[in-house]
Amino acid sequence: MNKFLCTGLLIMVGIPMVFSQEKTIDSSYNNTYYQGRMEVFNSLPKTKDAIVFVGNSITERAQWNELLPGELIINRGIGGDNTFGLLARLEDILSQRPGKLFLMIGINDIGRGLPLEVIKQNYTRIVKQIQIQSPRTRVYIQSVLPLNDEILSAQYLKNKKITVLDLNRFLKTLANQNEIIYIDLYNKVFSDGNNNLKPELTIDGIHLKPISYVLWTDYLKEQGYL
């Protein structure tokens, strides 16, 4: 019993220690582009029961509105955004009580070399906050997409295959534990079978060609998520 308590204390103390050791954790997100987008979001008319797509540039560059006619769609993608940035604006998104929330975030966290543990922790916080603040919103966690190292020119994104797979494995578990839907776009739409983003679907090894968004939304419809 004593031993148990002692271990518990160690673990509790251990958490902040791990963080203080990792001096390299870069939790910034609030750049001028982010601010500009937030300015727009804040000026836009408020909605209720909308279908919201949340994420980084991959989400931002899709014309969800036009891909899904007849639905009230809101694009909350911000180029360059990461899990910290998303956490900071989540309250704002949830205050409009979305009907559905499609989430895809994490590749920029991986790109800047954030420890996987930190990304996972942020994701856990994201899910928790949604469930507390807007329990009636149907949440869909979309897998992070594969990259294509051969096409990528950005060095910092290369050799991230294993990290992406690890994160997706975690996201699937997180979704299961919280009884929300995990959408395996990685395998079902975008991977060439060898964990590379299909070359015909990408511009630069990470961003998507317009046709990819057609395949993406087709898949969501096929699965009955839309």
Binding site: G36, R37, E39, V40, S43, L44, P45, T47, Q63, N65, E66, L67, P69, G70, I73, I74, N75, K209, P210, I211, V214
Partner: protein
């Protein structure tokens, strides 16, 4: 005499040809244009579309979310010019849109296309829309002013004098074809010195997000939307 005549004729006509063709760059179908257009063709057509057609200034506008009406469609292509717009009208007109708002021309000026050629394209646009989609309400939106002192050198062919001349021509064509001309240039974007308001632009040509709210407010106030 015959020979001399023919010779002179040949000389004159080749000179004319050279004058006509060398300086005029009417290309438009670059990689981005082709890709965007292919994407537009994949998108579903809707009933009663409200279409915003133009270049990057149109493309980066969050039209759908600001207007929050169904059937708003963004048909902006960065870098597009009046030739490009004319040649992709079919993709837009096939859905028989309810309204078509066009703003185009500043990239033509950027590459030195004579104003008369740009206006010729405007005539072709008006004629084609009238003929193929007579029920579509076509709106010509004035080309916006630029903030000359802060323009980058790649824009050195663009100035407000040319833009004013172009707008006069667009206005006349709108009148001729019985279309609405929307004077955003003077009514929303111009400062007292004849420049694009500094606070509304990022680089002297493109707009800050806040500008789109003013733009749409204006359209709504005048019941174009």
């Amino acid at each position: 005499m015959n020979m001399k005549f023919i010779f002179t004729f040949l000389l004159a006509s080749s000179a004319l040809l050279a004058q006509e063709t060398t300086p005029l760059d009417s290309s438009y179908a670059n990689g981005y244009y082709v890709e965007r257009l292919a994407f537009f063709e994949l998108l579903p057509n809707r009933v009663n579309e409200i279409v915003f057609m133009g270049n990057s200034i149109t493309e980066v506008g969050d039209w759908q979310e600001i207007i929050l009406q169904p059937n708003v469609v963004n048909r902006g292509i960065s870098g597009d010019n009046s030739y490009g717009v004319f040649h992709r009208l079919d993709e837009v007109l096939v859905s028989n849109p309810m309204k078509l708002f066009i703003m185009i021309g500043v990239n033509d000026i950027k590459r030195g296309t004579p104003i008369s050629k740009i206006l010729m394209n405007y005539e072709r646009i008006a004629g084609k829309v009238k003929k193929e989609a007579p029920e579509t309400l076509l709106y010509f939106q004035s080309v916006l002013p630029v903030t000359e002192p802060i323009l980058a050198t790649i824009y050195n062919q663009i100035n407000n004098e040319k833009i004013r001349t172009l707008n006069e021509g667009i206005k006349a064509i709108a009148k001729k074809y019985n279309l609405v001309y929307i004077d955003l240039h003077n009514e929303v974007f111009l400062d007292s010195k004849g420049q694009l308001k500094r606070e509304l632009t990022t680089d002297g040509l493109h707009l800050k997000p806040a500008s789109y709210f003013l733009w749409i407010d204006y359209l709504q106030k005048h019941l174009y939307l």
